[in-house]
């Protein structure tokens, strides 16, 4: 021990007690906790040294008081400050925002690859709904009104007759917030045993199929595809990824294996969170393109090239991106398999 810290009397070591007694220790611990909670990086060196010392002194006092049979009600203040101190001392240090973002970029491809089955299922469900919606409306265009909301119906007709609006990156904000809300919802709905996610996928498939059928029957397909082709691929991919995360959660709830259901849900939700967050990043790119470039009167081939390269870029990133998924609470049964695909 070198010079004693200014405010932490070290008289008797950890086992001993400061001159002020237990009351002083508790008070010091309370003020340290308050500081640590709100400005953790502003704690002085002496404070950092004092925090565990005070914690151990007070928790030893609690153990002693319990052993002596002190009524629980009198120990409430000790317990409260100890719960807080324990929660701060033993929690890992939170990463800074920039580091967390880099970690997300590295984890995202790994987690997506590990969930390729769920991703395939999401695509299949949407295609199933799409096929049904398309065939129903194609055989009887009148039934479109039953499948689509008036707004979507309007939208579809808009491709036939509506005036073009200008491209503006600001519009991207609408598309991004709408689509990211959908992505977060299909992820969260996994907690309904996956049922909600499945229904949303089917429903969205039906709407897409029905819209496509109307557009084709109106003969407005050229404009429709010209609008959709630049951003649609990336957008769909992102929503499928978020939905796959939801399906993983649902599957964990249905087949928890040796875990408790709630633990299985928690592990799956934590393991697949990067998919929901990563999907929203892809949607930010797609939204910008949708608001800005898609409405522009560019030749179809230009837009198609842009759309294809966006999709290809995303797939290359997802397929080749290397990195580990640190803090992954799920003991993956086949780590070699998922690593081998990369």
């Amino acid at each position: 021990m070198t010079a004693p810290p200014p405010r932490g009397p070290e008289a008797g070591g950890v086992a001993g007690r400061a001159p002020g007694g237990l009351a002083a220790d508790v008070q010091r611990l309370e003020s340290l906790i308050d500081q640590a909670r709100h400005h953790p990086r502003r704690l002085a060196r002496a404070d950092l040294r004092d925090l565990p010392v005070m914690y151990r002194r007070v928790i030893a006092a609690l153990a002693e008081a319990r052993a002596r049979g002190v009524p629980i009600a009198q120990l409430a203040r000790l317990e409260r400050v100890l719960i807080a101190a324990h929660g701060l001392l033993y929690a890992p240090e939170p990463p800074r925002l920039g580091r967390a973002f880099v970690a997300l970029l590295r984890e995202f491809p790994v987690v997506v690859r590990r969930s390729w089955r769920a991703l395939a299922l999401a695509v299949a469900l949407c295609a199933l709904g799409g096929g049904w919606g398309y065939s129903v409306v194609r055989s009887d265009p009148g039934r479109a009104a039953a499948l689509l909301s008036p707004e979507l119906l309007d939208n579809a007709h808009h491709f036939k007759s509506g005036a073009a609006r200008e491209g503006d990156p600001l519009y991207g904000a609408f598309y991004f917030t709408n689509n990211a809300t959908v992505a977060f919802s299909v992820y969260a709905l996994g907690a309904t045993f996956g049922l909600g996610t499945v229904l949303v996928l089917l429903y969205n498939g039906v709407m897409l199929g029905a819209t496509l059928a109307i557009v084709l029957s109106l003969g407005a397909s050229a404009r429709f595809f010209s609008f959709v082709v630049a951003h649609g691929e990336l957008e769909m991919l992102a929503v499928f990824i978020a939905a796959a995360a939801g399906l993983e959660m649902g599957w964990a709830l249905l087949r928890p294996g040796w875990k408790r259901r709630s633990d299985a849900l928690r592990d799956a939700a934590h393991a697949t969170l990067p998919m929901a967050l990563g999907a929203s990043l892809l949607l930010a790119v797609a939204g910008l393109v949708e608001g800005w470039i898609s409405p522009m009167p560019l030749p179809f081939s230009t837009k198609a090239t842009l759309g294809a390269s966006l999709l290809a870029g995303a797939l290359v990133y997802l397929g080749r991106g290397r990195g580990r998924a640190p803090g992954d609470p799920v003991p993956s049964p086949s780590p070699r398999q998922s690593a081998g695909e990369g």
Binding site: H86, F174, T192, G196, L265
Partner: protein
């Protein structure tokens, strides 16, 4: 005081149990209503801005006839509006969870706190999951699923708490009693502990005692007395224990060192 089922027990690495007092439905609902009202503030401000810009655009339109008119301000206002709604929806709770250690303003007012399952401070992942899944708790309306989950689950968890691995606990400052009265001025057990004047046992002697104590009850009466006498005589001299005590008393006293 607390009912037994209203706490989640945590064992600290010091092997001492702490009881986290779980929050009740009422205080959680009140906290949410407060938070909801606070969330309405930025949203309604943005809404006012949108309405104002829109009407300005409209006035310009009627004054200038139907010529080229600038809709950009109203587009910009609407874009900002959608972003503000999105951010308050999805990041309000997580922001405050991380900035103030698990307390949104509503929870702070009601003296509640979000922690992770083991009582640890909430982290970004758990908080994000807990609050993304909030949309499911709200289904089909008025938090019906969340309420059912709180009533059914052992630790009063809504679905978001289950998925995030979090708890909501009460964090109320308790009435201050005389803390110094809780413990003796110097811990009684430590005062006469091994740090005192009595020398500690050497390894072989400790092993000898251990072996004897383990077999003591199985030995025939006579053999037991003989062995005990032998051990006690040897060790009493070596460690300075009163040799006049009965052999087994000496042995017991040494074994406690």
């Amino acid at each position: 005081m607390d009912r037994l089922d209203d706490v989640a027990t945590v064992e600290t690495p010091e092997q001492i149990e702490l009881a986290l007092p779980l929050a009740g439905v009422g205080s959680r609902a009140l906290a949410f209503i407060l938070d909801f009202l606070i969330q309405l503030i930025p949203i309604s401000i943005a809404m006012v801005v949108v309405v104002v810009t829109n009407s300005i655009t409209l006035i310009n339109k009627t004054e200038k006839g139907d010529v080229v008119q600038d809709v950009r301000p109203s587009v910009m206002a609407a874009a900002v509006f959608s972003v503000i709604v999105f951010v308050t929806n999805f990041l309000y709770f997580t922001f405050f969870d991380l900035v103030s250690g698990g307390q949104s303003p509503g929870k702070r007012a009601l003296k509640l706190r979000v922690v992770r399952d083991g009582g640890l401070a909430v982290d970004a992942r758990s908080s994000l999951i807990r609050n993304l899944v909030r949309t499911v708790d709200m289904l089909p309306g008025f938090y019906v699923l969340g309420l059912i989950s709180i009533f059914v689950s052992r630790e009063h968890k809504r679905i978001g708490d289950l998925a995030g691995g979090t708890l909501v606990i009460r964090d109320r400052a308790e009435a201050v009693g005389d803390l110094s009265a809780l413990v003796s001025p110097r811990p009684a057990l430590l005062a006469q502990g091994p740090a005192g004047s009595a020398p500690a046992l050497s390894g072989p002697d400790r092993a000898l005692l251990h072996d004897y104590l383990e077999r003591r009850d199985k030995l025939p009466e006579e053999a037991r007395h003989r062995v005990a006498r032998q051990i006690a005589d040897t060790l009493a001299a070596r460690y300075g224990v009163d040799a006049q005590l009965p052999p087994d008393a000496i042995i017991d006293q040494l074994a406690r060192r």
